[in-house]
Every structure is written in structure tokens, then in C-alpha cells.
């Protein structure tokens, strides 16, 4: 089994997270990360990146937008004869 280089590994991180690697590549990936502090740090940075992107999520709709969309719904009801 040819070892994976760092340069190759950084291209496969998402495929690794998505469980899209072949069994052999997955084994090469994990064997490499186990002995390479640089790639272990890289993987951790990618996990942090995903978490920070996830933190952008906005939960709430503004009351103005809610009112407007309720109007859209009511207009549609009227036009559609609901």
C-alpha cells in the first residue's frame, strides 16, 4: 500500500468526512494522519472551519418579512379562491 503524501491528503478531506473514500484510501488516510502532526492539525482546522461556517446560521425571520409573506399568502388565497 503506497503511503499517502500530505499534499494528496489535503485534497481528500471532504471525501473522508463524507465517507466517500475507498476502504484502501481510507486506511491510507488514517494511517497518515496517525503519524503526521501537520496533517492532524490540518484536519482539526477543517473541522473548526466547518463549525465556524455552521455558526453563521440565522434563525429568525424579521417581523417585517413575516408580515409581508403573510400578505403574499392571503393574496394568493383570495386569488385562488381558497
Amino acid at each position: 500500500m503506497r503511503p499517502m503524501t500530505c499534499k494528496e491528503l489535503v485534497e481528500l478531506v471532504t471525501a473522508y468526512f463524507e465517507q466517500a473514500l475507498s476502504a484502501e484510501d481510507r486506511a491510507r488516510f488514517e494511517a497518515h494522519v496517525g503519524v503526521c502532526p501537520g496533517c492532524a492539525a490540518y484536519l482539526e482546522q477543517m473541522r473548526t472551519t466547518i463549525a465556524r461556517v455552521g455558526a453563521l446560521r440565522e434563525e429568525h425571520v424579521s417581523p417585517a418579512a413575516e408580515r409581508q409573506l403573510l400578505e403574499v399568502f392571503r393574496d394568493w388565497k383570495r386569488d385562488a379562491g381558497v
Binding site: K7, T49, L56, V61, Q68, L70, V72, F73
Partner: protein, 226 residues
């Protein structure tokens, strides 16, 4: 910070009967059902539309048109897809059309790159950070990344970091930006995102990987410059 990065069933796949009931409630004119959907999807829709049209106010118009279009075409909804993917599919088509129109009417595109929505292929990490063929370990790190685990949590979760992430996403090619928004901001699954954007599973993964890699690069700059 553990999480499910695989995009497997984090988002609940509603059973077809739920979807049928949902559409029936809308047909009856049930306002509570409609407003619940608005609460669930509106912010994500506006942000996604903004990827294609740039302007926030225009993105809000596109989202509003999407709701109306969905209501008018409820009879075309087929319960074998989920209502959510159907809704976002309408949104993306509307936003793309509107974005193309806006770009045509803007002589020197203020919206950035016009004809390369996927972005050119580029490595995830600058090649000069790795040893070349003459190095002791070809393809090994020359300048390895630093661990972020020692950084104070309030630095990593700061407003400054948030701004840096937002800016990095805003600079991404459109298809990368829409995939990372749907996958990593909204937490939708790979299958859902493929259906929403009308792309294949491999392409989705490539776009997601490029997007995450570029955001990581931006974060590395922003977290290292003391």
C-alpha cells in the same frame, strides 16, 4: 466540537405522508402551516438567493416570488421529493435567472466573476507549502499548519472570525458558495443539496471541498496575524 460531517440524516427526511399533509394544509389556506415554513426556510432562502443576485433587497424579492410560485404550483409538487428540496429548487432557478439579468444590465459587473460559477481548479493548499520532488519527503509539509486548539475559544468564535468567514464565502464562485451555505450553514444533506441545485453527487463534493478549503485558508490568515 464533534459533529456529523458526513451530511447523513442530520436533516430529518419527512415521510411522504407528512409532505402530503403539508401540501394539503397549504391548499386549505392554513396560515399557521405557511408561517411555520416561512420560519423554517426564509432566512436560508434569502441568503442563498443573495449568492446569485448579490443585493440583499433583490434576494428578498426572489424569495418572495419563490413562495408565491410554490403556492401557485402546489399541484405540480410530487410527494416523492421533499417539499424543502422542491422549494429551494424553485428558488435557485429564480435567483439564477434574476442574477443573469442583473449582470447583463451592469456594464462592469459589480457582482464579480461572471462566467466561471464553479471556479477554476486549484489546489486546496498553496503548492509552495509542500516539499517538491527534491525534498526529503516529496509532497510533505514544508510549512505545516498550526493547531488552533491552543487558541482561546473566544478568539475562534469572535465577531472578527465570523466576519472573516462571511467575507471568504462572499468571495467564492457562486456554485461553491451555494453548496457550502446549504451543506455547512443550513446543515442539509448531500442528497438534498444535489436535488436543490440539480448537480451530481461527485460535483457537489468537489464544490464543497473547494469552498471549505478556501474558507480554511481565509481563517488561517485571520487567526494567525497577531
Amino acid at each position: 466540537m464533534t459533529g456529523d460531517y458526513s451530511g447523513q440524516p442530520a436533516a430529518s427526511g419527512a415521510a411522504p405522508s407528512d409532505e402530503t399533509a403539508l401540501v394539503a394544509a397549504l391548499r386549505r389556506g392554513d396560515e399557521a402551516t405557511f408561517m411555520r415554513l416561512v420560519e423554517q426556510y426564509q432566512t436560508a432562502m434569502v441568503r442563498l438567493a443573495q449568492v446569485y443576485v448579490g443585493d440583499r433587497a433583490v434576494a428578498e424579492e426572489v424569495a418572495q416570488e419563490t413562495w408565491l410560485s410554490a403556492l401557485k404550483h402546489l399541484d405540480q409538487f410530487e410527494a416523492r421529493s421533499s417539499f424543502k428540496t422542491w422549494l429551494f429548487h424553485i428558488l435557485v432557478n429564480g435567483a439564477k435567472t434574476r442574477g443573469q439579468r442583473e449582470r447583463r444590465s451592469t456594464p462592469f459587473s459589480a457582482l464579480g466573476e461572471a462566467d466561471d460559477p464553479d471556479g477554476e481548479e486549484g489546489p486546496s493548499v498553496a503548492p509552495e507549502r509542500f516539499m517538491d520532488e527534491d525534498g526529503a519527503h516529496p509532497g510533505g509539509w514544508l510549512t505545516p499548519p498550526a493547531s488552533w486548539e491552543q487558541l482561546p475559544e473566544d478568539r475562534v468564535a469572535s465577531q472578527e472570525t465570523r466576519a472573516c468567514v462571511l467575507e471568504a464565502i462572499a468571495r467564492l464562485p457562486r456554485n461553491q458558495a451555494s453548496v457550502i451555505r446549504l451543506r455547512d450553514v443550513e446543515g442539509y444533506s448531500a442528497d438534498e443539496v444535489c436535488a436543490m441545485l440539480g448537480i451530481g453527487v461527485v460535483n457537489q463534493r468537489v464544490l464543497l471541498h473547494r469552498a471549505r478549503s478556501r474558507v480554511r485558508q481565509a481563517l488561517e490568515m485571520c487567526l494567525s496575524d497577531d
